[in-house]
Symmetry: C2
Subunit: 158 residues, 2 copies
Amino acid sequence: MANITTNFNDRTIEYEQLLSDFKQLLKTNSLKFTIQREVILETLYNSDEHLTPESLHHLIQKKFPELKTGIATVYRTLALLEDSAMVTSLSFGAQGKKYELGAKNHHDHMICTECGDIIEFVDEQIEDRQHKIAEALGFRMSDHSMQIYGVCKNCQHR
Amino acid sequence: MANITTNFNDRTIEYEQLLSDFKQLLKTNSLKFTIQREVILETLYNSDEHLTPESLHHLIQKKFPELKTGIATVYRTLALLEDSAMVTSLSFGAQGKKYELGAKNHHDHMICTECGDIIEFVDEQIEDRQHKIAEALGFRMSDHSMQIYGVCKNCQHR
DNA sequence: GTCGCTGCAAAGTCTTTGCAGAGAG
DNA sequence: CTCTCTGCAAAGACTTTGCAGCGAC
């Protein structure tokens, strides 16, 4: 089985680069660079998880309790980052969305319906094919998402 | 461009069959067959749209005003149908889920980010590949969903 | 200084639940 | 008859918004 990649530990963009992109984005839109916005970006960067607004907020409160960052700011910043395509949101069956940094390599998700574990992967054949389908249907494709649901190796053994 | 199918007007299951499956399901679980449940199933069957609980409720109120079906019953019945895999829910970026009958052929979705239009399609190459990926990662695959986002032909011309 | 940002709390959405009466089996 | 369903309204969960003071530029 070739061409399936699941290793995303090597991020495509280093934090300094990401931060500078973010600052540029803010400047372009006459928005201000605040410590809260930086902390949110940094926490997203340092997390390998797919975070809900609530879990992101908890992480920040634990790590920077002196900031007393409000959940509203987390929501506002996530909306800002999503609008600028710096983060991507996923909505699975459960209620609420999960967010991840878009600066990582593009990938799709395989989700274990037993334990909720998420494995990221990329398959070039599928990526190619998606572009061809969009073209054939007359769409100007901007994005896509794919989730495969099933039971992971660990949960099968239990 | 071969092998992309977008024609789903020919349903795989006729209504009588669907209804009888539903009755069987209810019987098996010692649940009762009520007029509200039938109306919900029928309305889903007769709609080619992907419905939100609210839009489904509106349709039912318009068509069967004498029933005064409550929104809570719609939610409860959709949850029941989804648990039994008779309907599938989709959660796109927007808030809220949309539901569709699972009795139609399996398909994926191409979604216009301008007008919200949804085109259904199937591509065998991708279907095959998904199974192979699940296998390679040790998953026992149960289901998958794929959405391609972009701007549809009509909206490009505007 | 100006004008956007933040935290807080209040207000909105969407969804679920408790309950008493109605109805299917 | 019994036990599940239903509509209603209240409660919950999650998200957004208004506002006054704060802070980046």
